[in-house]
């Protein structure tokens, strides 16, 4: 019995593919963002005097810390932005559903009026 339900669960939960249209849209969006996000690499300077390294190490640590902080901030901002985008789409979706209710009511009222007038 245990094996039965588990195998049925596996069959029931086989992954399903999204629609072709969505899939294409997804790939297009993700690849266009990636291109925009990539910045050109800086070519390192060829001048490295020995005495410079100790100061450079400290500076590098500071830059790394700032960079990590900036990266985390960017991640947070990205998450918030994507969340806000999702909420905007959901809000407009809800609004459009309710506008549709009004539209259907107006449409059926117009149809009844026309029917009444033509029948009169």
């Amino acid at each position: 019995m245990s094996k039965d339900i588990e195998s049925e669960m596996r069959a029931a939960l086989r992954p399903v593919a999204p629609s072709e249209e969505f899939s294409q849209k997804l790939v297009a969006k993700v690849t266009s963002r990636r291109s925009a996000a990539l910045k050109p690499r800086r070519v390192a300077s060829g001048w490295h005097p020995l005495a410079w390294w100790s100061g450079a190490g400290v500076a590098a640590s500071v830059v790394l810390a700032v960079g990590v902080h900036h990266h985390l901030e960017q991640q947070r901002l990205q998450q918030s932005g994507l969340e806000a985008r999702r909420e905007v789409l959901q809000a407009l979706r809800v609004t459009s559903q309710k506008l549709n209710l009004a539209y259907e009511a107006v449409k059926s009222q117009s149809t009844s009026l026309i029917d009444e007038q033509s029948g009169a």
């Binding site: 918030s80 549709n100 009511a105």
Partner: protein, 186 residues
């Protein structure tokens, strides 16, 4: 001295003057008691900051995102409250009246009022206009097991809202009354 008195008088009047100006943002109650009874709640509060942030994440190359971005231009707030219940009449009209009563204030005009016997849905759409420009939209939809309040604040371009047709299934809201059929000639 007179100038001071005048300034002091204007300072006292300022709040009253501010109140007199039309305000398209509704004061929506928390509905916490109803939210607890609801099987599904949608609570969306998007102020100018969040709208601006969302706009940055909308992709111009995508038709839906591009149309949405156009609608968002000039908006300063979108507020949605929607509650779904598992039985009829789980909420009272009085629950929504706190919002509805605000729509009788000066500035609000009822654009559409529909009562459908078929779907048992009542939908009221109000618009606030200032200097020939729509600056606010309010929608109240009451269905047997759900009610929804939408408040959009800002320079709403109804044309652009129209153009969302097909993106979210927004219909063309033809609110003009039908032309009267001419009486048959005897």
């Amino acid at each position: 001295m007179r100038k001071c008195t005048l300034l002091w008088f204007l300072a006292l009047l300022a709040p009253a003057l501010a109140l007199a100006a039309p305000n398209p943002k509704l004061a929506i109650p928390s509905f916490s008691a109803l939210a607890q009874k609801a099987t599904e709640s949608v609570t969306i509060t998007l102020d100018p900051g969040l709208l601006g942030l969302a706009a940055k994440f909308l992709d111009n190359s995508d038709p839906q995102d591009a149309a949405t971005k156009e609608v968002l231009r000039g908006l300063s707030g979108i507020y949605v409250r929607s509650y779904t219940f598992d039985k009829d009449s789980a909420y009272q009209q009085a629950d929504i009246d706190a919002v509805r009563s605000q729509l009788t204030a000066p500035g609000w005009n009822r654009l559409v009022e529909t009562r459908s016997r078929k779907t048992h849905a009542d939908v009221d759409i109000y618009i606030m206009v200032d200097h020939n420009q729509a600056i606010g939209l309010a929608l109240i939809a009451s269905e047997p097991r759900q009610f929804t309040i939408v408040n959009i604040v800002g320079a709403i371009d109804l044309d652009k809202l129209h153009k969302l047709e097909g993106q979210f299934g927004v219909p063309k809201l033809d609110i003009d009354p039908p032309k009267a059929t001419p009486a048959p000639q005897k």
